[in-house]
Amino acid sequence: MTGSGAAGERLITLSALCRELGRLEESDLLRWIAAEWVRPAARQPEPRFAAIDVARVRLIVELRDEMEVGEAAMPVVLSLLDQLYETRRQMRLVCARLERDGA
């Protein structure tokens, strides 16, 4: 499992992230942060992004550009995805506990 925000992980700035993804305006990203779609690893003094944030922003860009999910529908999609991943994580924990206790 790839941890993120781990100690020593290199964080990148907003402009570096926009450059890396290529088709993303800084104003879009700031709006997404305000809407809590993206929660950067560090917020002060300026937003800085860990690998997980980069992957999430890339996913949002692809949902927007390739899958034509409009900004109005985006929170629904992200919320369902977050619940899906949370459920998967819990299932993983349950399985790990079962293995430890029940073996």
Binding site: M1, R39, E66, D82, L98, G102
Partner: protein, 316 residues
């Protein structure tokens, strides 16, 4: 491995418009995006194939080259990227859990008791061990393999020693280019819980050849010939990637003349016919003796034309 035919990968006709290609790509991306299919290990490979096919076909120049058979669907290596799903179940994802502004500190999941807990507790009570091991596809692993120029022309099998002590026999197809990536299915990291292993991704580096040079399927070589051979013509032996062959130099051949040896370039592979070998004559004077000197001094046409006239004119 990207499908051999990007048109088939996207399910479009060969004369599909740019718009149809875009629509087909979007429809497939919605279905196969790995972040929307976290439980499907193969989704990532499928999505990458789809994206690579769309990349190729949406670039008018690359599409035309593919249609003419100049490049195959493998194209350039796809830059490595990580998907959100690789992080989403880790501790780092805590700040994205629990909805808007939710308590981000919760990383150990106190809610184990609900649906899954109940289900698995019952299973465990009955002596079952359902779900004990997670099925997880193994990781893709990246390697680099340097190959000799002639192996990329003729094709070859080369052995790659892996860090874990295994040896991998890599088939080098004729015509592979520097920087291309070969995918060996199932040769990457081991899977867990009976899931398939990942793939080995091998980036090919090609060592240059001392005298052959490649352009697509064709090869070029500068072929030294003596003054006598150039003027009087000769039958000479030319090195080719698949052994020496005899070639006739017509009389009165000047330096720079290009002669073609059909089928002596990159070997035939798949539907691609073999390329040609172009030999460009390079006149070599060699050791000069008194008789040649005497002959040139007395040569009637000696002053002749200035061979640099065209160059001098062009730079006036």
């Amino acid at each position: 491995m990207p499908g051999n035919d990007p048109y088939a990968t996207l399910g479009v006709k060969r004369d599909a418009s740019a718009d149809e290609i875009r629509r087909a790509y979007r429809a497939l991306a919605k279905r196969h995006h790995p972040d929307l299919n976290p439980g499907d290990a193969a989704a990532e490979a499928r999505f990458k194939d789809i994206a690579a096919a769309a990349d190729l076909l949406e670039d008018a120049d690359k599409r035309a080259r593919f249609d003419r058979g100049e490049i195959d669907a493998t194209g350039a290596p796809v830059p490595e990227r990580s998907f959100y799903r690789g992080y989403a179940e880790g501790d780092g994802a805590a700040r994205y859990r629990g909805g808007r502004g939710g308590d981000a500190g919760d990383s150990d999941g106190p809610e184990l008791g609900d649906i899954f807990g109940e289900f698995f507790n019952r299973q465990a009570g009955a002596g079952g061990r359902a779900g004990a091991g997670m099925r997880m596809r193994g990781r893709d692993q990246r390697y680099e393999l340097g190959v000799d120029f002639l192996d990329t022309v003729n094709g070859a099998t080369r052995r790659l020693g892996l860090p874990d002590g295994r040896d991998l026999d890599v088939v080098i197809p004729p015509g592979i280019e520097d920087g291309q990536v070969l995918r060996l299915r199932g040769q990457g990291g081991a899977g867990a819980g009976g899931a398939p292993a990942g793939d080995a991704l091998i980036t090919i580096g090609v060592f240059p050849h001392p005298f052959f040079r490649r352009e697509g399927a064709d090869l070029h070589v500068a072929l030294p010939v003596s003054l006598r051979e150039a003027v009087l013509g000769a039958k000479v032996t030319v090195p080719t990637p698949r052994g020496p062959v005899a070639m006739t130099i017509p009389p009165h051949s000047d330096a720079g003349r290009q002669l073609r040896l059909r089928g002596r370039g990159v070997a035939a592979h798949g539907k691609q016919a073999a390329g040609d070998l172009y030999a460009t004559l390079q006149v070599v004077i060699g050791p000069v003796d008194a008789s040649l000197e005497a002959f040139l001094k007395d040569w009637a046409a000696a002053p002749g034309e200035d061979p640099r006239a065209a160059m001098l004119e062009a730079t006036q």
